[in-house]
């Protein structure tokens, strides 16, 4: 028969394994906005999405409120359309809100900045499936440099 000590140590080993899994799952991986919470979808059409990727975050004033769920090309006017999944806790954005593609830091990854617009009686609230009309495209470094050189040359 195996001794109590061995059983105890094996139990300790398994508990340690579970603790490690919990540590990895809760402390290391992104908890919260990982697709577990309730979300609703908005759409936004851009001219150029730059380096925006699926799962890029959507921030309001630096707070993450959702993630980009899908990026596809509109087949009629060939403009990229992003499908956004936004936490249902934040379901009160007016349809005058604007979206811009921003970069965190100089070399960081790109995210969507959502700027809530003004509210009055004529302004509706964005709901499931609505398009955000006011969007600003990503700054593409090459285009910026090109414009800069062009304006330098014309002076």
């Amino acid at each position: 028969m195996i001794s109590k000590k061995i059983e105890l140590l094996v139990g300790f080993f398994v508990a340690l394994g579970i603790a490690a899994l919990m540590f990895l799952a809760l402390n290391i991986a992104s908890s919260g906005m990982s697709g577990s919470g309730e979300t609703y979808n908005l759409y936004a059409k851009f001219d150029n999405i730059g380096g925006l990727k699926v799962r890029s975050s959507i921030k309001v004033g630096g707070v993450v409120v959702g993630r980009v769920e899908e990026i596809k090309l509109d087949t009629e006017d060939y403009a990229p359309v992003a499908k956004l999944a936004i936490d249902t806790r934040y379901n009160n954005f007016p349809d005058t809100s604007s979206l811009s593609i921003l970069t965190s830091g100089l070399l960081g990854e790109q995210y969507l900045g959502l700027e809530p617009g003004f509210i009055d009686e004529t302004v509706g609230i964005l709901g499931e499936g609505d398009f955000i009309e006011d969007t600003k495209s990503a700054l593409v470094l090459e285009e910026l440099i090109g414009q800069f050189l062009f304006s330098q040359g014309s002076e």
Partner: protein, 258 residues
């Protein structure tokens, strides 16, 4: 002509070894489980294979995490990106180093012991005696060891990664002065549970099956002399290390390659 004959002989030997290994594994694990008898044997083997490997896994995990942080810092600080140190340490540990180094250490620490133990059982005709007593050695000796290996290694790999990240935190935050908040928050923003942690666990389960299988088969198939056992033990370490590294490439390409 000798050369071609040797080639043929080697090929036949390889394939018949694969066949024998499959029969052994099949006989060991495809059977009606007898929990009352099997479970104590399993617990005993988890102790021998898993618990006794804890120290080497924890110590090497800690040091590998610390070295990763130290090396990563010297490169990242050139780009002013030392805040991403946590991301670098945790992703490399969870995706690659955790499962792979654990499997290599496991092959050296537990795999060789398994081979030697089973080989010696064969050499001293204990396996035959078991059969004489109408006890199936595959189910009595092989099966609990196999399951214990498959069960233990993912736990060891997770502990390795966790301890490695703590080691990286020790060096990065406590010693080199990376900001603690950005160390953890950038890590948490970039590590995904399904994509990184779960794939790492899948990797280590695959490695566990391969390493334990090779170790057990090499012992079970050893030539029952002292020289045969020593060769079998060497083969276990060499073959399982190579199999782990080769499989790691394939799994990485499948999981993260697209």
């Amino acid at each position: 002509m000798d050369w071609i004959q040797n080639l043929g002989k080697n090929t036949i030997e390889r394939f018949s070894a694969i066949g024998r290994a499959s029969f052994m594994l099949f006989g060991a694990i495809v059977a009606k489980p007898n929990l009352a008898k099997g479970f104590p044997l399993f617990v005993k083997q988890v102790y021998v294979i898993g618990v006794l490997s804890l120290v080497i896994i924890l110590v090497s995990g800690l040091f590998i995490g610390m070295v990763l942080a130290l090396q990563g810092y010297t490169v990242l600080v050139d780009y002013g990106a030392e805040d991403s140190l946590g991301q670098m340490v945790s992703l490399s540990l969870l995706r690659e180093l955790g499962p792979v180094v654990t499997a290599l250490l496991f092959a050296g620490r537990a795999g060789s012991a398994l081979t030697a133990e089973i080989g010696l059982m064969k050499a001293t005709e204990q396996l035959t005696s078991l059969e004489m007593m109408a006890v199936d050695p595959l189910r009595r000796v092989i099966a609990p060891r196999f399951w214990a290996g498959v069960f233990s290694m993912p736990i060891l790999a997770m502990l390795f990664s966790s301890v490695g990240i703590i080691g990286g935190h020790l060096v990065g935050v406590e010693w080199l002065g990376v900001d603690q908040g950005s160390f953890w928050s950038i890590m948490q923003a970039s590590v995904q549970f399904e994509g990184d942690i779960l794939n790492g666990i899948i990797k280590s389960i695959v490695f566990a099956i391969v390493v334990t299988w090779i170790a057990i088969f090499r012992g079970y198939d050893a030539i029952p002399t002292s020289e045969g056992i020593s060769r079998a033990t060497t083969q276990t370490v060499v073959q399982s290390s190579l199999a782990v590294l080769g499989l790691d490439f394939v799994l990485t390409a499948l999981m993260f390659g697209s």
